[in-house]
């Protein structure tokens, strides 16, 4: 038992190190003008990277904001549609259910480039290529497998027993959803939204292809900067990327808890 715990702790430390060390390095780079090998620390403190993000590149900040909105919208639609699909797969029996469930996973099973090119053909036909609508639809489709999976498991575990009980007490199914199902599924909803948000926010290839260069997101903006080799600017951009995502997660969690509290009058 102790051995097992030690191994688990070791794995956790390793996983945390894999995440935190690059973030720490990136943070140091974002605030350093030059950091040459074999120096242990950078030569001098510099805010050049952040000046570039927020002052020099005015377009960059605008793209960050619009990107946040696109990703929030994509995450919202992917979570809502994902919930509906999860509800259908978990609660109902219908023909071809197994195949449809498998089909909902296809965007992550097939390579994203093939997926993007496939839907691009249809988006051209429907006239929604090179537009925010097209990018948004592409992001939603790409995020759906994650939201369906996360919400499906918890929807199945929850079952419909509490909704039945609410109906017995005179509650309509819509009110039962907001007062019972949603609060009980809140951890999964937050996970699904966060996952969809981060996938959409970091999406490069799908955005490039479906947006046709007209729709620019933060990932599209950051990618060439990182490739260019200016680590200070790349560090600043990626740090903003990371902090904005954390801020959105906290905002979403707070907002949904506030809404649920207003509806049911309870803490969740």
């Amino acid at each position: 038992m102790t051995n097992k715990n030690s191994i688990l702790r070791l794995i956790m430390v390793f996983a945390a190190a894999c995440i935190l060390i690059p973030v720490a390095l990136m943070t140091v780079w974002a605030f350093t003008s030059r950091w040459q090998w074999p120096d242990l620390i950078g030569e001098s403190l510099s805010l050049r990277g952040f000046r570039e993000v927020f002052i020099n590149n005015v377009q960059g900040f605008r793209i960050l904001v619009s990107s946040i909105f696109i990703s929030m919208a994509a995450a919202f639609f992917a979570t809502v549609i994902g919930y509906m699909s999860a509800q259908a797969f978990s609660m109902y029996d219908f023909p071809l259910k197994k195949w449809l469930r498998f089909g909902s996973m296809l965007p992550i099973i097939i390579p994203s480039s093939i997926f993007a090119m496939g839907i691009h053909v249809y988006f051209i036909k429907w006239g929604i290529n090179d537009s925010i609508t097209g990018v948004l639809a592409g992001h939603v489709l790409y995020c759906m497998p994650y939201t369906v999976n996360i919400l499906g498991d918890s929807r199945e575990a929850l079952g419909n027993k509490y909704e039945q009980q609410a109906a017995m007490l005179g509650c309509s199914s819509l009110k039962a959803f907001f007062s019972i199902t949603l609060p009980l599924m809140l951890p999964s909803v937050i996970s699904a939204f966060s996952m969809a948000y981060i996938i959409s926010f970091s999406q490069y290839f799908i955005t490039m292809l479906l947006g046709g260069g007209v729709v620019k997101t933060y990932a599209v903006l950051v990618f060439p900067l990182i490739s260019a080799g200016d680590r200070t600017i790349a560090g600043a951009y990626t740090l903003v990327f990371l902090l904005s995502s954390i801020f959105i997660f906290m905002l979403f969690e707070g907002a949904i808890k506030f809404i649920v509290k207003k509806i049911v009058g309870t803490e969740t």
């Binding site: 009980q165 109906a167 017995m168 007490l169 009058g265």
Partner: protein, 339 residues
């Protein structure tokens, strides 16, 4: 409110689960639906509550047909066997949930919650989380929440099945007290005959998706309609025999009766058999249950067993070999169909 169920049939996955159900409960009556596991009792409650659609038949409350009305508008509350308290709410919030749906203002809600908690003897526990309550306490809260909804008809699905014997008794008393206080038509599903017999004004006995007998506890216990009904209540021994020329004859007994000729099963309740002098039965076991003492005797030739009571309570005088004398007025016969 008076409940009437006519020719109800319910199917699940194209298989008929219950059929030809005719049932009624008068206003303020306590009806128990009794039967073995899987006989369709819970399906019946769910269909009345509106959670399962009817394949055939109709449901009336006070003469008004309700089977087309959605579950949440029927004002019939079902307390499920697995209790189903909302885990993200406290005791008070669970009870308040029903009150909020009824749009009772906050000040009225608080008073009602206090009164209901008093009735279920859980004052001071309103802010407890559900997972901090014992099984019995959870059952009480579920009952209070159901009462808060002020249902026309209260239905309980095996409400005491998860409780131990002492709690079960307390809960029976509590439910009985609440039923009397609210004078609410109450339907309880149970597989426990003692529960049904001790609490009900009327019992409906179910078997294989049908109500095979309904009536008062005394009637249903004393006069089971058929062999299956008789067997369900236990407390009896059964002997197969033939009636001819006004006499029931089996290898064990010969009893005068006024039945048509044919094959019958004789039911002998434990209190209908008394020991007399003789040697055709042999003592094999003493069954002591605390408040009763029964003895099992075995017939020497057929090996069939009979349980009888020793009213004298003198265990030392119990004969190893004896004959059994039957009280004719307590005997019941069930015809065996020739097919």
């Amino acid at each position: 409110m008076k409940l009437k169920v006519e020719n109800m049939k319910v199917a699940l996955s194209k298989k008929d689960i219950i059929s030809d159900i005719n049932l009624s409960a008068e206003e303020g009556e306590f009806l128990s639906v009794l039967g073995a596991s899987g006989c369709g009792k819970s399906t019946l409650l769910k269909a009345i509550a509106g959670m399962l659609p009817l394949k055939e038949g109709s449901i009336f409350v006070d003469g008004k047909r309700i089977d087309h009305i959605p579950a949440h508008k029927r004002n019939i509350v079902l307390v499920f066997q697995d209790i189903r308290l909302f885990p993200h709410m406290t005791v008070a919030e669970n009870i308040a949930y029903a009150l909020k749906i009824k749009k009772i203002p906050p000040e009225g809600r608080d008073a009602k919650i206090k009164s209901l908690l008093e009735q279920i003897k859980m004052e001071g526990l309103e802010n407890r989380n559900i997972n901090q309550l014992s099984g019995g306490q959870q059952q009480r809260v579920a009952l209070a929440r159901a009462l808060a909804a002020e249902p026309k008809i209260l239905m309980l699905d095996e409400p005491f099945s998860s409780l131990d014997e002492n709690l079960r008794f307390d809960m029976r008393l509590l439910l009985f007290d609440i039923h009397k206080r609210y004078h609410m038509t109450t339907i309880m599903v149970t597989h426990n005959k003692d529960e049904a017999l001790s609490m009900s004004d009327k019992i409906a006995l179910m078997d294989e998706g049908r109500v095979i007998q309904s009536g008062s506890p005394e009637d249903i216990y004393e006069n089971p309609i058929n062999y299956k009904a008789a067997k369900y209540f236990g407390d009896a021994s059964f002997f197969e025999g033939t009636v001819s020329k006004g006499k029931f004859n089996s290898p064990e007994f010969s009893v005068d009766c006024s039945l048509k000729e044919g094959k019958y099963i004789l039911m002998v309740r434990n209190d209908a058999a008394e020991l007399t002098e003789g040697d055709d039965f042999e003592f094999i076991q003493r069954v002591y249950t605390g408040n009763e003492e029964e003895y099992v005797y075995q017939h020497g030739e057929t090996g069939s067993k009979i349980r009888c009571r020793n009213n004298s309570k003198k265990t030392d005088s119990l004969p190893v070999k004896a004959s059994i004398c039957l009280k004719r007025e307590k005997l019941r016969y069930y015809k065996i169909s020739s097919s």
